[in-house]
Amino acid sequence: MKKLVFSLLLIGAIIMSGLVGYADQHHNETAGKEGDLGSSIFSLKFLNK
């Protein structure tokens, strides 16, 4: 019984979070990702001419 309630709650949660997630996608200001891409200022000094 507990597992059934849990499953129903989880399904409801997935549906709700889908809606919330879509709405929130456009307000996501920061993302503390573990990796690094460097700056978006590029220079071409490394062109290996």
Binding site: L10, A13, S17, G35
Partner: protein, 350 residues
């Protein structure tokens, strides 16, 4: 001294030279041209004046002076009614770069989307590739992986045919490697990151060698190979790049704990936690605190993780909300606490 006798055609040629110096990262030459051009701006026609301020914004960005870059853009915008479409495109890109560098990724994306509407006017394939790479990088940090991969592929298409753009192609491959990590495609991630590492070594670009070592560390952490990750993370730490040191220390501490190297883990944690406090980096402080509770202070694990997740919700860092909520939800599920587990599964799906 300024050359006030320059005609508008000469000024346009000098502005071109200035932009080339900036793109080639010839800082001294760019600074000299800047001084010359600045002394004669009263003689410019409107078109050249707009170009001057747009290039000046880029010049300040190259020198990591975001405040002056924004001021130059504001000066350019005083003539907004006189902008042609290419100048408008460059203005949106410059605005996007400033937002990106301030970690304001949604606003950066809005600017790049405006610039994209005018991208068809640009003929230079490097410029087109750079545009797609910037947009892909922004999507990466917004955690919209599929669109990041798509724009990354467009950037690679622009750079790939030209051996001379190896640096930009390597940056693209490094980003795609991290995208493949997010997609759990670890084989492709490994291939892309190692390709990028080889290129950066060829180009002797030490900053990006360090970044790629960190990113390989991320790959091996995510694929549950902490011993392999340590090798790259220790290498990354030797690169002495202050900007990403906390990220490296965090992953190293995690890997040392996972491989039962407690003393080393505590050293990395202590340095990272203290430095994040000194720098006022509250998000990183929470990450380190939560890591410590996971391995060393289990009594306070639940409360600190709950508070940490609340903090990341408050600052709209949805990536970290998802990351930590998923782990906490799994913990509660394993302990048969289904109701509270559900709460965190909801957050994990944000």
């Amino acid at each position: 001294m300024g050359q006030n006798i320059l005609g508008n055609t000469d000024i346009a040629a000098q502005l071109d030279n200035w932009l080339i110096s900036i793109r080639l990262d010839k800082r001294e030459a760019a600074a000299t041209i800047h001084r010359d051009l600045k002394s004669s701006i009263n003689d410019y026609d409107t078109h050249n004046l707009i170009t001057y301020f747009l290039v000046e914004s880029r010049f300040y960005l190259m020198n990591k002076n975001t405040k002056e870059a924004a001021a130059s853009l504001d000066n350019a915008k005083k003539y907004l009614d006189h902008f042609n479409d290419i100048q408008r495109h460059h203005m949106h890109i410059a605005e996007g770069i400033i937002f990106y560098d301030e970690d304001r990724f949604q606003e950066a994306l809005n600017c790049f989307e405006k610039a994209e509407k005018l991208l068809h006017l640009i003929e230079d394939s490097v410029e087109i590739g750079e545009f797609h790479l910037r947009k892909a990088m922004t999507y990466f940090y917004l955690d919209i992986t599929s669109l990041s991969v798509l724009h990354g592929e467009k950037a690679a298409e622009a750079f790939r045919p030209h051996k001379t753009f190896e640096f930009l192609l390597a940056r693209t491959e490094m980003m795609q490697g991290l995208n493949f990590v997010d997609l759990h495609n670890y084989d492709r991630a490994e291939e892309s990151l190692h390709k990028a590492l080889t290129s950066f070594k060829n180009l002797e670009n030490h900053n990006f060698i360090t970044s790629t070592n960190l990113n390989l560390g991320v790959l091996y952490v995510k694929s549950n190979l902490p011993a392999a990750a340590i090798r790259y993370l220790e290498e990354a730490l030797k690169g002495n790049q202050e900007r990403i040191r906390l990220k490296i220390l965090y992953l190293l501490a995690d890997c040392y704990w996972k491989t039962n190297q407690h003393a080393k883990a505590l050293d990395a944690y202590t340095e990272g936690f203290n430095t994040s406090i000194e720098k006022g980096d509250i998000a990183k402080k929470w990450e380190f605190a939560m890591l410590h509770k996971k391995y060393e202070d289990r009594l306070n694990f639940e409360s600190v993780w709950q508070e940490g997740i609340d903090y990341f919700r408050k600052i709209n860092d949805n990536y970290n909300v998802r990351r930590f909520s998923k782990e906490l939800a799994q913990y509660y599920t394993e302990n048969n606490q289904y109701e509270i587990a559900t709460k965190y599964y909801v957050l994990a799906l944000l």
